[in-house]
């Protein structure tokens, strides 16, 4: 397998705060990786840098063998993103939102692609409703549908199943797994839902105080720390009792 993403000594400093400290990441094609950490661990800062929303203080990001920091626009079309902290235009309908983003990403066969998304994310009942009229769970589904509108090779998700009920969470999880299997896409997500991480991920990366302090498959981590759940591993590492 080849690496889709590689970072080298990726660092972000906000005046006196070192938010991300010499982060070295490598994500293989077709992998699903979870980025975990407590509040202020540097997860969102890392995702923001990988999306081009935040300029690193130093270090390198190589995405699809391109220098992402210098040349992000050649790569952004192959990526996409969803976060509960970023909204889509509320006054537009779901269909209008998906159409705009499909055009923005240069999708060919927009109507067909939107129809696929309607079926995959079960949006049919509210496609022509404005976003502001939807429940938070429905909005999350629309945001996820938008993140897949361009069939991204690299998908970044910030708490992808926030606001979803357990049944829908399970179904979205299966959908993400299916998407990865069918397309070979690489998925990186930040989540606080340890059950989700355990069920979905090939690899877990744990951050603390801006540094990557632990990593491995959920199974390996459980064995290494001799715990039954990832939550216990997370708590132990977050206390500073684990070091990569």
């Amino acid at each position: 397998m080849s690496a889709v993403l590689q970072t080298q000594d990726l660092t972000k400093r906000f005046s006196k705060v070192l938010a991300v400290d010499r982060l070295n990441l490598s994500l293989e094609r077709g992998s699903i990786t979870a980025l975990l950490g407590g509040n202020g661990a540097g997860k969102t800062t890392t995702l923001s840098m990988l999306l081009g929303l935040l300029k690193p203080t130093s270090g390198q990001i190589e995405l699809f063998s391109e220098d992402f920091i210098e040349n992000r626009f050649s790569v952004l079309g192959r990526m996409n993103f969803s976060s509960p902290y970023v909204d889509l235009p509320q006054r537009l309908t779901v269909r209008e939102n998906l159409t705009v983003y499909a055009k923005l990403y240069g999708v060919r066969g927009i109507d067909e692609r939107i129809q696929e998304l309607v079926e995959e994310f079960r949006l049919g009942d509210f496609m022509d409703r404005r976003l502001r009229k939807l429940s938070s769970g429905q909005k999350t589904r629309v945001s996820l549908a938008k993140s897949m509108v361009n069939r991204p090779d690299f998908l970044l998700l910030d708490e992808p199943t926030a606001s979803l009920d357990p049944g829908t969470t399970n179904w979205i999880r299966e959908l993400l797994n299916q998407y990865r299997k069918e397309t070979g896409a690489t998925i990186l997500f930040a989540s606080h839902d340890m059950r989700e991480v355990e069920l979905l991920c090939d690899e877990v990366l744990l951050m603390r105080k801006g540094r990557l302090v632990e990593g491995g498959s959920p199974k390996d981590l459980l064995a290494k720390y001799d715990h039954d759940t990832l939550e216990q591993v997370f708590l132990q590492v977050n206390r500073g009792e684990g070091e990569r």
Binding site: L53, L76, P89, R91, Y105
Partner: protein, 260 residues
Amino acid sequence: MGRISALLLRYVYLLRSSWPRVIEIAYWPTMQMIIWGFVSRHFSSSSPELTAGGILISVVLVWDSLFRSHISYTLSFLEEMWSRNLGNLFVSPLRPAELIVALASVSLMRTLIGMVPAALLAIPFFGVSVFDMGLHLLAFFFNLVFTGWAISQFVTGILIRYGLGAESLTWVLPFLIAPFSCIYYPLETLPPWMQSVASFVPTSYVFEGMRALLINGEVRTDLLTSAFLLNLFYFMVGVATFFFAFDSARKHGLLLQSGE
């Protein structure tokens, strides 16, 4: 081109979603035209030099095109901030320069929607047709739209860097140049120090040019050229400010946080 048309489509959807919004775009210029039309009629008997050639109504309409172009540009940008959509836009392949072109295009569209009905209504209401200025009208109009865009570049740059706390600049900034623009009075009315300042304000050349055309029938291409060159300069400075602010926002992590 596809990305620019995608954003244009987004703003068309937004306009289409609310007929009151479309009506509002034409409402204010029409109200301005009606009020100043009656003021003009009132002065036409006592001070005919003030209203010759329909000058008062014409300058009001043309000045409003600056204000409308600026407001339309900046409100479209603010719409992205209010809806917390900037993060989605800036992780897409959309280049900041394409955003500028899309915002300028939608601004032109909205300005025309606002100004054309008011200009047409001025003909039956007050017998004043700005279209009588022919191609010169286009030169005056585009110069003022250009000024509006230059101001918008500064404002959106400040918004992107300092957030919605700077929102009031949207309404305040165009009026900062109004006294120096000599909209309703000739340049020589201003005290010397204000005339010096006005020489750096492109709109003062536009309105002097309009007066020369409408009152004396004189075409002052020198004034229009000065206005255009100044506009070009300010627009480029504005674009540079926007890019500088965008870069600074990327350094400080402000693009994901912008919103209400």
